[in-house]
Amino acid sequence: MADTANPTSTPSGGTTRRDFLDLVTWSTLAVGTAAVVWPLIDQMNPSADVLALSSIEVDLSQVPVGQAVTVKWRGKPVFIRHRTEEEIKEAEAVPLGELRDPQTDEQRVKKPEWLVVIGVCTHLGCVPLGNKPGEPRGDYGGWFCPCHGSHYDTSGRIRKGPAPLNLTVPDYAFLTDTSVRIG
């Protein structure tokens, strides 16, 4: 492009000084527009105080086998379930071929007796039922989403209904045997 500024160029020679000016004008305009528009778009992304949400610690010693708790993390419910022996066996026995989003139970837990998942249906974001005693747990003994009828198993994996993915496992770490930090 160096010779585009050459005043002796003619239209028949391909590029003229005017072409160069056009190019510079339009590129400046494009970059300028983008620079003005981006703040208007980005202001809708999570603000600093929302991003600064800390992690939470949960005491698990009060959760008996077969029951579960719901804790709030980043505005969303997290399900922590103290699974029974049968539930663990059931989750481990499922052949991967049967799963829509194939994951072994091992990949989804740090300690088999504790299942920690984000309690948000991967279909359209409802909170599935089954974490409280008496709520329907669906056909696979895990959770049942009332909105559009997705069934999750005892490993939080999608088994039936419209949801495409398993319940998300958040980042977490066991601090002691009965205490866990999420986030």
Binding site: M44, S47, H123, L124, G125, V127, P146, H148, P164
Partner: protein, 432 residues
């Protein structure tokens, strides 16, 4: 626009002086007073002006409600109760606004089906029709965001479900949802922006309505006979249609008032009188009635039962969830391009012996979808929903294109007088 209408002559010198410099009065005169309208319009043509009146009512009641409402998660629910209990006539304004949204949709849906029956979308009115579909989309966005503002359980979970639709978009879905929310779930930033947009969009609708009328007046209204008209087939809008529209409006306002004063919560959902709780989804989430057909289409897209054969789509990375979203938007896209899907040159269904029936099947199909959208998705309901969804798309994508080729329309009358006065018209057969 109405070019064959002469400019008004003003007696007042002041008006003449103003109109010379700013021809707003003569423009309004030409478009809304002298505008030549077909003389054979039936009552289904009332619904266009009714829709315009509903838009104005919603803007007026909405602006005054905004004077008392607080868009904050801690105060929104209480401020709506404050409007209901403490603000002078607050109950009336809120009930008029909430039921007004339903009335607006009733009017617009009848307006749309009127257009479908009489072929109002056909050349040369394609852009007029498409602008109408854009108004429908804007109305849906506005109504959806308005329903979130009271911050009840249905507000919150409706917002969660609908914003999550965007997570179905491959790759960029999740960042888009986070961007829409302004966080990691529906929360205060979401409520704030929804309030801002709920206030903005009606004015955008107003602007598109202006374009809709601009396009309408380019060729003039379609009519029940559906043939092109000449000047002698038309009468001035005022007083003929101003009076007819006013009469229709009176009847409609009685209907509207019944809901405001006797069944103000009939069209709403009781769960929305429970404050939003992000940790507990109501057992049965349903959108407002006017979204139910689309919601039914969304929910019907599971690769099971009737749609088991669609599971091949999963190989192309189209999950059932994405398919549901595509089908839902596709149902409106069908409306948007119906001018080209319908291959028949004959506008009015009166002269299309088969389409006349197919039209009513579509109406029934939409009623079935509305019912399905409000039900718990049990196996039987899913079957019905899937058949109804399939038929909806068959109507637009298969039946309409084929029917234009296969159907033999009845002979069109030479003028709109003919169906009334007989083939030989006024001169030979005087009315007795």
């Amino acid at each position: 626009m109405a070019a064959d209408v002469p400019n008004p002559v003003f007696k007042s010198g002041v008006l003449r002086w103003i109109d010379d410099r700013l021809p707003l009065i003569s423009w309004s005169y030409k478009e809304f007073v002298a505008y030549p309208a077909p003389k054979n319009l039936n009552y289904f043509w009332n619904f266009g002006s009714l829709a315009g009146i509903m838009l104005a009512l919603q803007i007026v009641t909405g602006i005054v409600l905004a004077m008392h409402y607080t868009p904050h998660v801690l105060h929104a629910f209480d401020s709506v109760e404050h409007i209901m209990r403490d603000v002078n006539y607050g109950w009336l304004l809120r009930y008029a606004h909430a039921n007004g949204a339903s009335m607006f949709f009733i009017v617009v849906y009848i307006h749309i089906f009127r257009g479908l029956y009489y072929g109002s979308y056909k050349a040369p009115r394609e852009l007029l029709w498409m602008l109408g579909v854009i108004i429908l989309l804007l109305m849906m966005a506005t109504a959806f965001m308005g329903y979130v503002l009271p911050w009840g359980q249905m507000s919150f979970w409706g917002a969660t479900v609908i914003t999550n639709l965007f997570s179905a978009i491959p790759f960029v879905g999740d960042p888009i949802v986070t961007w829409l929310w302004g966080g990691f779930s529906v929360d205060n930033p979401t409520l704030n922006r929804f309030f801002s947009l709920h206030y903005l969009l009606p004015f955008v609708i107003f602007a598109v309505v202006f374009l809709h009328i601009l396009a309408l007046h380019q060729f003039g209204s379609n009519n029940p006979v559906g043939i092109d008209l000449t000047k002698k087939d038309k009468i001035p809008f005022h007083p003929y249609y101003t009076v007819k529209d006013l009469f229709g409006l009176t009847i409609f306002l009685i209907f509207f008032s019944f809901f405001i004063f006797f069944a103000p919560n009939y069209l709403g959902h009781p769960d929305n009188y429970i404050p939003a709780n992000p940790l507990s989804t109501p057992a049965h989430i349903v959108p407002e009635w006017y979204f139910l057909p689309f919601y039914a289409i969304l929910r019907s897209m599971i690769y099971e039962q009737l749609f088991t054969p669609l599971s091949f789509l999963a190989w192309f990375g189209i999950s059932a969830k994405l398919a549901g979203v595509l089908a839902m938007f596709g149902s409106i896209a069908c409306l948007l391009v119906v001018s080209w899907l319908d291959t028949s040159k004959v506008r009015s269904a009166t002269f299309r012996p088969i389409y006349k029936w197919v039209f009513w099947l579509l109406v029934i199909d939409c009623i079935v979808l509305t019912w399905v959208g409000g039900q718990v998705p049990t196996r039987g309901v899913v079957w019905i929903g899937q058949f109804a969804t399939l038929y909806y798309f068959l109507h637009f994508l298969v039946i309409l294109p084929l029917l234009g080729k296969l159907e033999r329309p009845l002979p069109l009358p030479a003028s709109i007088d003919e169906p009334v006065l007989g083939r030989r018209g006024v001169a030979a057969q005087p009315a007795e």
